[in-house]
Symmetry: D2
């Protein structure tokens, strides 16, 4: 019977890789854990680890082996403190090279989170924006499984194993599908944002510590090339690379392959379905690898039976 584990981390990792597991969980289990923010600060706003996307985990999922898929269902993301932090200037790489001189100095700013109201309000710096509030819509910025070849990869970047994708669609209710490369899959997570627009063009969302609840399922022998996901309305794939063109190629290729694999569509049919319904979203254009999302509305798929 599925178990719900309550896990309290005592240390964090700045790479995603084949670290010593902190907990072994079974196929179907749920985990409730705390995460600290990208700056390494915890729910008391104390420095619990160095900056740079410290991760909780890894969680070892029994039965997960190389060649399987892992379904990671985000059940809940609850910020657990009142201060959220941001960078305060557009990242240099998001504007034309000759325009970078127009950007202000990058500093750090603060939002105050009202968790009852579900809003975050800019406290610092002072701007011309008046009272500047955004809704709290938490997402996980960085999470994934141990990469192929026993790699340990910085939590500043991403790949087909997941990582620092900074896509606002990784919110509660989403199921993410990772390829499994190493025994136990070895799930890492952290870097929650209370709010983020497309592209993470400031270089941050509103960075916050949180409580995260997720569950896992092992998909035996499920061939997955790179990160996939689904929510109530869409299925999607994530391409992580530079330039964005390549990220888009990865995401589109994965979606085309998924349509053929999951629905038994031939090449012509998969291409026409995709070509008439595809939507693209930009995860981040800040990290070393950019993230492009390729989405398909489930309504477009309703007519086709899964094989």
């Amino acid at each position: 019977m599925p178990t719900t584990h309550h896990f309290r981390p005592t240390h964090y990792h700045h790479t995603i890789g084949s670290h010593e597991p902190v907990l072994t969980i079974a196929d179907g289990d749920t985990v409730v854990t705390t995460t600290i923010d990208a700056f390494g600060r915890d729910e008391d706003d104390a420095q619990a680890a160095p900056r740079g996307n410290p991760m909780v985990g890894p969680f070892y999922v029994q039965g997960a082996e190389a060649g399987d898929g892992l379904a990671f269902h985000i059940e809940r993301i609850t910020p657990n403190r009142k201060v959220g932090r941001i960078f305060t200037a557009l990242a240099a790489n998001t504007v034309l090279p000759e325009y970078t001189g127009q950007l202000p100095e990058r500093g750090e700013g603060e939002f105050r989170l009202d968790l009852d109201e579900g809003t975050a309000t800019l406290i610092h710096p002072t701007t011309q924006l008046g009272t500047f509030s955004v809704p709290i819509q938490p997402m996980i910025g960085c999470f994934g499984v141990a990469p192929v070849r026993g790699q340990f990869i910085s939590t500043l970047t991403s790949g087909e194993f997941g990582g620092n994708m900074d896509y606002r669609g990784f919110a509660a209710g989403v199921t993410v599908y990772f390829p499994v490369f190493m025994p136990g899959a070895l799930v890492h997570l952290g870097d929650v944002h209370a709010w983020q627009a497309d592209g993470e063009i400031l270089g941050t969302g509103i960075e916050v510590s949180a409580e995260v609840q997720f569950s896992v399922r092992v998909l035996k022998s499920q061939k997955i090339g790179t990160v996939r996901g689904e929510n109530e309305t869409h299925i999607f794939t994530a391409g992580n690379a530079r330039p964005l063109d390549q990220a888009l190629q990865i995401a589109t290729t994965e979606m085309d392959a998924w349509l053929r694999q999951a629905y038994g569509l031939d090449a012509r049919s998969a291409g026409l379905l995709l070509g008439h319904y595809v939507q693209y979203e930009v995860g981040n254009v800040f990290d070393p690898a950019y993230t492009m999302i390729c989405k398909l509305p489930k309504t477009a798929l309703a007519a086709f039976r899964k094989v």
Copy 2:
């Protein structure tokens, strides 16, 4: 008093440039014209011009001079025949290089348009998709003004003058803002799609001839760097370049400049506003220049007064 011109083209251009005007119109005027499809076929499905995005125009707008802006309001786009044509395979550049061998041969396909029902149904080729219908949501694939320096630029590509952007957001109700480079602005248009998803990854939308109604306004001394637009809910900018990274840089730069210029925001404020609300959309990733859209919801702007 503004006039409505009914214009019936007799010839077409395959470049956007300083061609002899076909009609002179006044600031504020409306034009109703027919357009032929990207393959050069007209409302009778007769070959009226060679393939490759033949354009109607140019329309000379009185009073428009280099350094002005031109507001081009799309009032109506009505497909005027029952057959729409497509390419039938994903374009090679939208998937990973090593996956191109998995793509089917590119052919041409046909949709039958039911203009009353507002749907288009795939007639050919035969696929596993069963009855495959999409809504008719017409857009202009290619339009713009004569480019800087007296250039004549192929209607297969795009730039800060507009051109072949293939963005599905260029639909009725949208106002597009072009920089004016040449006397009279010299408006060209064509390449209507009855439907297109993001990216134009097949290399076509559903290509169709149409009747288009638009109006123009001259914005004296309005400094515009590249294509801008707005609809009921958003303002947006279009970056046209390769790679997508550069298209995104162009669009983001233009939006940041627009926020400072139109709302008097300082660099810090503009960046924070943009950073927390930006949305990106992919116009096309098929043409020589790709198109990235940078959007901002008008709700995010409601608090700020235009200067």
Copy 3:
């Protein structure tokens, strides 16, 4: 019998396109003409045209038709004044976005050319470089034929028709092969540099007016995809696009096709020959389209007979 034309331009173009020819020449003829520099200054350092790569021409080559090739042989490039001008700072796009703040302001500088010694010496600005001299090795920065579709394209950029490639290999002794798109080919040239390193990373070479002597040959029905060339030691192709990756793809594709076409090599043989001997050079990484050169030493080709 081939004629040598002495041509003295009276006006200049800032696009390459189907302008009115200034002179009609026969297949095999030679032209001696003056050119003005990229800033529009002539041999007396007088402003003869606006800045931005003003071109001499076009020269109409009798017998050249769309589908032919044009061999353009650079016989001599002789700077004809003593002052050469440069930009004085690395272009923003040649360094990492976060490093652009380290670059000095871009200004204009001057070299003094000693045409007898064959050296150019920096006069202004004052630097820590002491007496800073470079050899005079003249090249043509921008030249080409009227583009496909009747386009007129800015002399700031380039394409398969040539244009602003800013490759230091376009020097005396080189034969350049252009595809012919328009009747008469319509040859333009200008933008001579007395010296330039790879990449044109300052945004200029040492810009100078010059006397240029070239001859042309029509290659009937010679299928050329994009700019090709050869000198005493190498054959090469030029890919003009962004990003550099695409420029490299264009150049490599053209070279592979050339090997198959000219030497009758099958796909395997052409690929292996190219794969073991290819050399790449960077033309410019400053202009809207970058230029990548794909070279093959003639020694590698010596064993294979032209078909």
Copy 4:
């Protein structure tokens, strides 16, 4: 006193990272070791490790700490068997997407090495190239130091720590400078090529096992951003990233910083020196990260004293 170590590997790594050192060496020491080829085959052509650039090492260099530089001098690279292996078709990403269908199937081919003559001759497949021989000019395809953050990174890719750069300039006589990230630097090496052109566009050089002799020096507190090198005639930097544009930006930035740091040049002087003498070379355009080399001839530096 410097020692020469003769090391015989017993196991290999497919990542570069903080593996258990196989040998501790002192600042100034020399190592003579064997390496196996990219396919994992040793001097007897026996499978000694799985495919994919298995590395020898790591070698722990006493005294090397994070923030130092490591000088790695390649003294000798001697292929130690007679068979070299290649891929036999251009990689899909090196040609235009729409041209990939023209490429032959990728297979493996063989060269026979004549170590006395210094030539390698194609044995298989049979081609139209007749007797196809290339000179043996050995280089190291993949080598580097343990990356920052304790990462373990696949030997198929590269970064500022080195890795799979596949640049033919990494030959005997070259000194390579790496930034040190981890205690002891942790040197890895392997993937020797008997011959390779620019770009590694087949996806291989002529892959061979070898005996390699190198020496190391610790450069205390020498600030290095990414891989640097020098040989008798040039200093150079290596940018490892995609697209090539970013690789070029990294390499150019590093060279500009180096000029300022090592020669005390101000921003203007460094930029002008670089702008007039820079040469670019393409390492590889096959691996996940491409490699661009930024070179400067030592003759151009002769006038400036190192600080």
